[in-house]
């Protein structure tokens, strides 16, 4: 087969620009795929690792409903049979004073006291200093921002007064100690530091108290046995043992992101596959004569396919060889920007194990699939008509095409996106007829002179091909309009949507369960400004396919929710759900939780807390932003019934006067900076969503333009084929009467016709599908918004691209020497 490789290479080199361009497309496709898959792989691994690190490989935790408990238990647990390791923790809040003046928000510090600083459950990687002295330990990034080194001291505010505390060690960043990445982030994120448990106890005057004991079981013992032994030791009522469950979905719901990434990568690959298909098709068309000769000589269709296939394979291999290194650079860039936007500054290692073989396989498979149709066409080349270069009569469309198209059009009214799919398929079938219709209209318009008339006739002659190209442009435009209108409507409704499930206009969370005293002072502060609701929530476990998972159950004050709900549902109005929640053990699940659970409304869900099982009946699925939807709501009454009375850790406030919202929020933070860990107003959240959307929109517009460009390539290739078939005809025109300019004009008009038809169908399709989408989709967030800017952009870029695409074929048609084209027959 060596000769065919040599010949394939020669063929590829002969058409330099085309080969390079196709290769470029493939490299882009492969690089994007690689970057995307690697990013997802890395993100998944990183999430897993992070979680493990954060929880320190602990199997179980001992906590108290009261917040703290006696340190005595640490010792007891440590000596219990089967316990490999135990670590005692205490988390406390304070303010840190640095050399530079900083706001109160930015000075929040949380110190974690640890019973053992070099426990193997911690993984402290000491960069400078040592752990044996008295003082705090901070991560490298924090040290850099504070501009301190080991030996320096910082002023920390304790209840017992301000103290100068020495920095004894700087360690590599770990989730336990992760602080803000810059001072702006410090507005929303707290600084963290570690110190020995005894020191922290001293500072906070809570000797011999701890918040949590993290336990690592010895693998050699049976887990249930160890659990029993431990529980025997827990004499006090407020203490409970909780299994540590690694549910990454709790902290990082990146599923949607993964999906989007895959979609983008997949789209890139699809686009490059389309370009390959198109180019190959033109190749085969151009070489029909060659193929006919080879068949005459005695090459079987199989062998002819192999020849073209080897060209495809050479390109694939080159694409992979060039694309993968570029992909890994792209990947690094993508991951860095992605993870920094999540404010993760953990060093990550790029994962390739799964990515590399996947991309290589796809890099060969997808071109092969793209080549299927052109190769089939190559095998069907009719020998005689192509030896003599006589153009074949184009077959007319079978009648059933029209029938199927019309039938499918009726299916447009089906709900849930099926209607939209029906429309797409219907338009695919009806495309030639629509094109014919529009061409007839164009003929009557007589706008474009004689050249225009000829151009329209040419388009009619190659109806199917013109229709296909217009269709591709139309689909791109339609998709653009659809998504753009969805974006616009989401944008318009951000405020409205947020207010549906924000629960008021300020949300806050507290460091630790509030003591009664604290609760009173907070209530006093809020009084006069508005209403408030403090509530607890609980992390419970549940099982899916024998895999332990966990989510949060929120205690819902139904009275508050009647005014300011934290979730909403539109089919069943909220009030009915709230009523039902009051009765029995009813629960509603957030969308994500419902999806993960996989059950149906009316079924029961079993959750675990501490080896105790609780059953609830799922009465609904609701939309909520709490825990990104990976959560559930039960009424306060039921919550308290089932779980021990837990002190509240979250709060909802509704400030009466919206003007005072921001001011009030700031004052709250000021007063209770040690208690509040997180506070968010509805305006801030709205702005955040707006910003994200404004960030995505330009990206998306670029994608649409790229897609239109690709459709333009399709138009270009289609025109090239059309010209090839008509070389002699054009030669005659030139010889007899037409100037080059007139020929140019004719071909450009042909291109523009395809563009106009494509744009027209695309806009109609886009508007219809947007409208249908708004009507039929159950999510009331979407209503029909006319995306004017995308519309105008599509029209102009669509037509512009088709004019541009026509330049090359027009040039080609006039460049050929007159004599050669006349001899073509």
């Amino acid at each position: 087969m060596l000769i065919s490789l040599r010949i394939s290479l020669r063929n590829l080199i002969r058409k330099k620009y085309r080969t390079l361009f196709t290769l470029l497309a493939m490299v882009i496709g492969i690089a994007s795929m690689f970057a995307v898959i690697s990013t997802v792989e890395t993100a998944k691994k990183m999430t897993e690792d992070r979680l493990k690190l954060y929880l320190g490989n602990a199997d179980y935790s001992i906590l108290s409903t009261n917040g703290t408990f006696s340190e005595v238990y640490l010792d007891k647990i440590f000596h219990t049979e089967g316990v490999d390791h135990a670590l005692g923790l205490m988390h406390r809040r304070s303010q840190v004073e640095l050399k530079e003046e900083r706001s109160k928000l930015q000075s929040r510090l949380r110190i974690t006291g640890l019973s053992s600083l070099d426990s193997n459950m911690l993984h402290f990687n000491v960069l400078k200093g040592n752990l044996n002295e008295e003082g705090i330990i901070i991560p490298k990034e924090t040290a850099e921002l504070w501009k301190v080194n080991i030996g320096d001291t910082v002023m920390i505010h304790f209840p017992s007064g301000k103290k100068n505390i020495k920095i004894i060690a700087i360690v590599q960043n770990t989730p336990l100690l992760e602080g803000p990445n810059d001072w702006q982030e410090a507005d929303n994120k707290i600084w963290r530091a570690a110190a020995s448990l005894s020191l922290v106890q001293k500072w906070y005057m809570e000797e011999h108290r701890i918040d949590e004991v993290r336990i690592k079981y010895d693998q050699n013992f049976q887990a249930s046995h160890i659990t029993n032994e431990i529980e025997k030791e827990l004499l006090e009522k407020d203490l409970y043992l909780q299994k540590v469950i690694l549910d990454e979905k709790q902290t990082n719901q990146l599923d949607d992101l993964y999906f989007m990434l895959y979609a983008v990568g997949g789209l890139a690959m699809l686009i490059s596959a389309f370009i390959l298909y198109n180019t190959l098709y033109v190749n085969v068309m151009e070489r029909r004569n060659e193929i006919a000769i080879m068949k005459t000589i005695g090459y079987t269709t199989q062998q002819i396919k192999q020849l073209f296939l080897s060209e495809v394979l050479i390109l694939s291999v080159l694409g992979i060889v060039i694309g993968i290194p570029i992909g890994s650079i792209l990947s690094k860039f993508l991951q860095q920007s992605l993870f920094s936007s999540f404010q993760e500054n953990l060093t990550f290692q790029m994962q390739y194990a799964y990515t590399l073989p996947t991309v290589v396989t796809l890099g060969i498979l997808i071109p092969l699939i793209a080549a299927l149709l052109p190769l089939k066409f190559a095998s069907k080349v009719d020998i005689i008509s192509n030896l003599k270069n006589t153009p074949k009569e184009s077959k007319s469309n079978p009648k059933w095409r029209l029938a199927i198209g019309l039938v499918l059009l009726v299916g447009a009214f089906l709900p849930n996106g099926i209607g939209i799919i029906c429309i797409f398929i219907a338009i695919f079938f009806l495309a030639p007829y629509i094109t014919q219709l529009l061409l007839n209209i164009l003929t009557h318009l007589k706008l474009l002179g004689y050249e225009g008339k000829v151009a329209v006739n040419n388009s009619k002659r190659t109806l199917n091909r013109s229709a296909s190209m217009s269709l591709i442009l139309a689909f791109v435009i339609c998709l653009g309009l659809l998504v753009s209108s969805i974006f616009s409507s989401i944008e318009k409704n951000i405020d409205k949507d947020l207010s549906k499930s924000f629960g008021g206009n300020i949300q806050l969370s507290f460091e630790a369960p509030l003591s009664d005293i604290k609760m009173e002072s907070i209530k006093k502060a809020i009084n006069g400004y508005g209403e408030f609701n403090l509530y607890p929530e609980k992390i419970v476990g549940w099982e899916r396919n024998n895999e332990p998972r966990q989510f949060t159950i929120i205690s819902a004050d139904t009275n508050w929710y009647k005014k300011y709900p934290l979730f909403y549902k539109d089919e069943q109005s909220n009030s009915s759900i709230l009523n039902q929640l009051e009765k029995e053990n009813n629960i509603v699940l957030g969308e994500y939780a419902f999806r993960e659970w996989g059950g149906k409304i009316g079924e029961n869900i079993t959750v675990f807390d501490n080896n105790k099982k609780y059953q609830f009946k799922v009465i609904g699925k609701v939309t909520t932003t709490q825990h990104s939807g990976y959560t559930a709501f039960v009424s306060k009454k039921i919550f308290d019934q089932n779980f021990k009375v837990i002190k509240p850790t979250k709060g909802l406030i509704n400030v009466r006067d919206p003007e005072e919202e921001q001011q009030f929020k700031n004052s709250l933070v000021d007063k209770f900076s040690n208690e509040i860990s997180d506070i968010q107003s509805i305006k801030e959240e709205a702005k955040k969503q707006q910003d994200t959307l404004s960030g995505i929109k330009p990206l998306f517009n670029i994608l649409i333009i790229i897609a239109i460009l690709v459709a333009g390539i399709g138009i270009l290739n289609s025109l090239v084929i059309s010209i090839l078939d008509r070389l002699r005809e054009i030669g005659v025109m030139r010889a007899v009467a037409f100037t080059n300019y007139q020929i140019h004009k004719m071909i450009i008009i042909e291109g523009v016709i395809i563009g106009i038809i494509g744009v027209f169908i695309g806009i109609v399709l886009g508007l219809v599908t947007s409208y249908l989408n708004a009507q039929t989709i159950s999510d009331s967030q979407i209503d029909f918004v006319l995306p004017i800017d995308t519309l105008i952009m599509s029209v102009f870029s669509g037509i512009f691209i088709s004019i541009l695409a026509a330049f090359m074929p027009a040039y080609k048609a006039t460049k050929i020497k007159l004599i050669d084209s006349l001899k073509q027959e």
Partner: protein, 244 residues
């Protein structure tokens, strides 16, 4: 070697049906050099195409060495063509992205023959057609006559039993055409080939042993050369004409 019985072929172009071949009966023996002549549209090329398996008849039988071509499936037809038939076309039909060598050796590569055998055979045949020194040239670097020689070489490379030539001198001037015809004639004589040549030029047809005239889709005339010498009369007749 070739037996054609009741061959019929027609074409449909929009509303008209053209009966191109209307009940053709024909026998060609091994080693004959036959010319098929006739006005354009008389179906000569169609007949050739059907004999070569490039086109299918509407009805009738075509046997080459007692094998019914039409009954073979596509792949078998191609293989049969590869091993038994050599085509020569008016416009040479060479592949422009291949050298002379590669063009000629193409059928052998399709047959997956050993590289060394290919080399030797190609070399021999290049000598036989008089293209020595042009092995590495591309068709665009050759004259019309040289290109036709390449075409002939390619047709012969697999030692076919039958050569089908469609207006082989159509694109050549008289002088070059004559050279090519002489080459064909020599090859016919030395290798005992069976050649079927379609031509509209009686001068080209004179190089064969037998001339068949097609008219309106059937055989009008089938004239063989009778070996008995009437040569003396030839010259005398002409000279007498000149005399009178």
């Amino acid at each position: 070697m070739i037996n054609v019985r009741n061959l019929k072929k027609s074409y449909q172009i929009s509303d008209d049906r053209y009966q191109v071949l209307n009940d053709i009966n024909l026998d060609v023996s091994k080693g004959e050099f036959v010319s098929i002549m006739g006005p354009s549209g008389s179906g000569k090329s169609t007949l050739l195409n059907i004999l070569g398996g490039l086109d299918t008849p509407d009805s009738g039988e075509v046997l080459i060495n007692n094998i019914n071509i039409d009954s073979l499936n596509d792949k078998k037809k191609t293989l049969f063509r590869r091993e038994n038939i050599g085509f020569i076309f008016q416009n040479y039909q060479l592949l422009h992205n291949m050298t002379v060598e590669e063009n000629i050796s193409m059928p052998m590569h399709a047959d997956k023959i050993n590289k060394n055998i290919i080399e030797k055979q190609v070399k021999d045949i290049i000598d036989a057609v008089g293209l020595k020194g042009k092995e590495k040239n591309f068709p665009s670097q050759l004259s019309g006559g040289q290109q036709q020689r390449v075409s002939i070489a390619r047709a012969l490379i697999m030692n076919p039993v039958l050569i089908l030539a469609d207006e082989p001198t159509g694109n050549l001037d008289r002088k070059t055409g004559t050279e090519v015809l002489k080459l064909l004639s020599n090859l016919h004589r030395n290798n005992h080939l069976t050649i079927l040549m379609v031509t509209h030029d009686i001068y080209a047809a004179s190089y064969s042993d037998r001339i068949i005239l097609l008219k309106d889709g059937h055989v009008e005339m089938d004239v063989k050369h009778e070996k008995e010498g009437e040569n003396v009369d030839l010259i005398t007749n002409i000279l007498e004409k000149l005399n009178s």
